[in-house]
Amino acid sequence: MSWDRWLEFLQMGGYALHVWGSYLVLPALVLIELVLLRLRKREILEHLGWRRDEWGRR
């Protein structure tokens, strides 16, 4: 696509805020969830004294 077409696409017929506001919340929420999960995992592993998680651990 040419630059103008891209610009037109990003403008979403004047509804850029609504359309991209809906879509970009998804990666933001996913990122927040994965970071929280990573922190939770680290906390419990530290508590248990496991240096790292071994999938095959018994």
Binding site: S22, V30, L37, K41, R58
Partner: protein, 262 residues
């Protein structure tokens, strides 16, 4: 044919009797298996979401009535489906935990709920933006918007109730009751959604025309929905592994007797 079916059924029964599925029912046996599954689910989720969102943003033609803003449907509707599906799965897991006193099922319920809440919020958020674009108001008293709000509240209520009760057994039981009662609300929502004209901006536009017309629209919705389901599976399994370790930290397989860890 009859013989082979008989052999198949006998094989299944034998398998059940062999207790080959038992390892999947205990937290200890499930833990490594869940870990092995997560990368595959995550990769599949990424692919399916990429395909679905690409179709929705680039391939599907501009909606004749609403224009580009109707593209919100391709994230709003899959999020709505998956938020309801996860709620039913959470309630089913909690119900199994309640009736059979199965620890892993109760753990699965509390592991699923936050991801379900995420999709319920996405559903509510995108629905609100869509309402704003089409009618000028952030909030419209449609049955579907109302059910979305109830679904978000139920998720928050379940997680809050579970967190507020310190005794794990009691927390599981109380939470299960809330979820099982909440299923009614989800069934109302499911009953509301097919009547698109009554629910979505009062005309066969947007959602309705997207579903009524063309295969690219349907393919987009299904691919994104499938991707969301697999992402929810991966995230819930990640959380379930944390919940398992937290809940089982006293047991021998997590903390072997005689080791220095508390």
């Amino acid at each position: 044919m009859v013989l082979s079916e008989k052999v198949l059924v006998q094989g299944i029964i034998k398998n059940l009797e062999n207790k080959a599925w038992y390892p999947y029912c205990s937290p200890e046996g499930f833990y490594p298996r869940a870990g092995a599954l997560i990368p595959w689910l995550a990769a599949a989720a990424l692919m399916a979401c990429t395909v679905g969102l690409y179709l929705g943003l680039f391939v599907v033609p501009v909606d004749a009535h609403q224009g580009e803003v109707a593209r919100i449907v391709f994230i709003h509707v899959p999020a709505s489906w998956v938020a309801m599906l996860i709620f039913l799965a959470t309630a089913a897991a909690a119900g199994i935990g309640l009736t059979f006193n199965a620890r892993l099922a109760a753990m699965a319920a509390i592991a699923l709920a936050p991801t379900g809440l995420m999709f319920a919020f996405l559903d509510l958020w995108s629905g609100s933006l869509w309402d704003k674009a089409v009618s000028g108001n952030w909030w419209e008293w449609h049955l579907s918007t109302y059910s979305e709000l109830v679904l978000v509240s139920l998720y928050i209520g379940f997680v809050g109730l579970h967190t507020a009760i310190e005794d794990l057994q009691r927390a599981n039981k109380a939470g299960s009751w809330l979820l099982l009662v909440g299923v009614i609300s989800v069934l109302v929502n499911l009953a509301a959604v097919p009547s698109w004209t009554a629910v979505h901006q009062g005309a066969p536009r947007g959602a309705a025309s997207a579903i009524g017309l063309g295969t690219s629209e349907l393919a987009s919705l299904l691919a994104t929905g499938l991707g969301f389901v697999m992402y929810a599976g991966a995230a819930a399994l990640l959380r379930l592994r944390c919940v398992i370790l937290e809940g089982e930290r006293q047991s021998n397989w997590v903390t072997p007797r005689g080791s220095a860890t508390p």
